[in-house]
């Protein structure tokens, strides 16, 4: 018999290394003699979209297109350390370092422009298409390249360092401020359990993620789909099968992860509640998108067939056994 059930899971997650561990990202911004903008930072693109979304931050600040940003990343010879791509920290931490470096460079460009164009401190300036322009008087303008040609070597180069707020927890009292910031998320699923075979299908899925600010909504949706699939594998398939210390499922014939045919159409809802300490309010969501999914699936199984599964993955064998036990 096929039985349907619904379940939800909710979560909050502290991003960054946390618990007082120094969490530091560095970025260097510069304008070269051709007037091109380059930003460099050691953040790694590991498929999560750092290369794209981090580059959007200086583009926003300097009034240029994202594709015009020369983003030098990963290369340890040319970039400064920005920590690991771990703890869902790059958007927040390296994003902040890149924002600070871009803003500092912008202030330098403003100051040089005022000097060259003989402008007072009060005259408002706008940045557009690699130019600094006096607002309301576009005849007064100067390009990044012109500024670079009058500047000394090193004048248009700035390094900024961002360090996240984190304090070690007091082991006695549990007090402290181990993580900053936190993200919040929820997941709802509907499952159909075959009570004769113990197999289950996820028939509906919804995933809601607080992101602070969606720097790149499409990339976030990609992360949400990926996180859901990963969690689905975690909940239903992935098993190292350790017997007396030996990993028996040591290859992908035995250690199963979801295929495209197993993937579920997930309804994705992005919640934007800007975080005051974050770059444009944006927080990392790499790990958070995975967290509420397995609890939601287990709750849906309970709703469908009345059994509480306490060990994952929920294979048909385990589920059928549990169903038989409750009769």
């Amino acid at each position: 018999m096929k039985k349907t059930g619904k379940g939800i899971g909710i979560m909050f997650y502290g991003t960054g290394y946390g618990n007082g561990y120094p969490d530091i990202s560095r970025a260097k911004a510069k304008i070269d003699t051709d007037g091109r903008f380059t930003i460099s930072s050691g953040a790694c693109e590991v498929g999560q979209g750092a290369k794209t979304s981090l580059a959007q931050i200086p583009a926003e600040i300097l009034g240029i297109l994202t594709k015009e940003v020369i983003f030098d990343h990963e290369d340890t010879k040319t970039t400064l350390d920005a920590g690991t791509c771990a703890a869902s920290r790059q958007t927040y931490n390296t994003g902040n370092a890149m924002k600070m470096a871009s803003e500092s460079l912008k202030r330098i460009l403003e100051s040089k422009a005022r000097e060259i164009l003989n402008l007072s401190e009060e005259e408002p300036l706008v940045f557009d298409n690699h130019e600094v322009i006096v607002e309301g008087d576009p005849s007064k303008r100067i390009s990044f390249k012109q500024i670079a040609n009058t500047a000394d070597v090193g004048d248009l180069e700035v390094v900024e360092i961002f360090q996240a707020v984190t304090t070690k927890m007091n082991e006695e009292t549990g007090e402290g401020n181990p993580y900053w910031p936190y993200t919040f998320g929820a997941c709802g699923v509907e499952v159909v359990v075959d009570t004769e075979t113990g197999t289950l299908d996820i028939s509906k899925a919804i995933l809601v993620q607080d992101v602070g600010r969606a720097v790149n909504p499409k990339l976030i949706e990609g992360q949400m789909d990926g996180g859901f699939a990963m969690a689905q594998g975690y909940a239903l398939l992935e098993d190292l099968n350790i017997v007396k210390g030996e990993i028996k499922h040591h290859n992908f014939t035995k250690y199963l992860i979801p295929t495209a045919l197993d993937a579920v159409e997930v309804k994705k809802i992005i919640v934007e509640d800007p975080e005051s300490s974050a770059p444009f309010g944006a927080k990392g969501i790499g790990e958070p998108v995975m967290i509420p999914v397995a609890p939601a699936i287990l709750n849906a199984i309970y709703d469908a067939v009345g059994v509480r599964i306490t060990e994952i993955p929920v294979t048909p064998e385990k589920l059928l056994k549990a169903i038989k036990e409750v009769g």
């Binding site: 075959d194 009570t195 004769e196 075979t197 113990g198 197999t199 398939l237 014939t253 199963l256 979801p258 295929t259 495209a260 045919l261 197993d262 294979t315 048909p316 064998e317 059928l320 056994k321 038989k324």
Partner: protein, 296 residues
Amino acid sequence: MYDIEKTYKPRSISSLLDAMEETGQEGKIIAGGTDVVVKLRDGALTSKALIDISGLKEMQFIREIEGKVQIGAGTTFSDIEEHDLFDGRLKGLKEGAMEVGSPQIRNAGTLGGNICNASPAADTVPPLLALDTTVVLCSKKGLRSMKLEEFFLGKGKVDLVPGEFLYYIEFEQMTREQGLGFEKLGPRKALAISKICTAVFIDLDQDLMINNIRIANGSLGPNSLREREVENILKGEKLTEALKEKAQIKFKEVINRRLKGRRDVDFKEEAIRGIFREALEKSIERAMEKSKEGIQ
């Protein structure tokens, strides 16, 4: 790293037979390579010669001759998947073929390979057994045929003598009031070795009398096999809910007896009931579909 010293690519049956004669016991036939290559890499195959039949057109066909369906051993799973002969009452065979691996594997892997590899989990074998398939073998001595069921000699073993290969298989084309159903239980929806795969052929008249039924299983024994004890419960009886349940209970008993002492017996004896039921319902649906057409 491999022991292979020679490779052959015959373009005709006669040059295939020559290559087999020349290489003798050292020759290994490779078609899609989806099992042979894996074994080579694992060092589980030490043949000195490979005979590649993937380009042998004479072994790639799906045809109907005098009320029989014949499928060449070199026919790929994708060929079966795409052929409209397997859209109606014979759909159970297509369903089995579509359960094999991934699209890439189905494009390369062949029906003959699935049979000759003799894995107990081969997805196309239960439908073929339920169709009472005959295998036609070829050697320099000529053709030899036998029931597919008798062709299997154990896990990984088939009744091929030196110098002989599987040429094609054949089974009777279905008449109306007949249907073939298939159901698989695997750990995920693709690229998974089946835990149970079951096929049911049914011949059902308009009064719901079961004139004939053949049931075959994979992954529930050393080879895919017919389930005659369950067939006997159903054959010649009128199809009712009570009868279906009786057959399910019998199935559980049969599997329990066969797998006793194995780690997965508790699961499989239960799950077979559901999988068999699905395959049976599909076969009935297909048999009835044809009856309706007959009335019109």
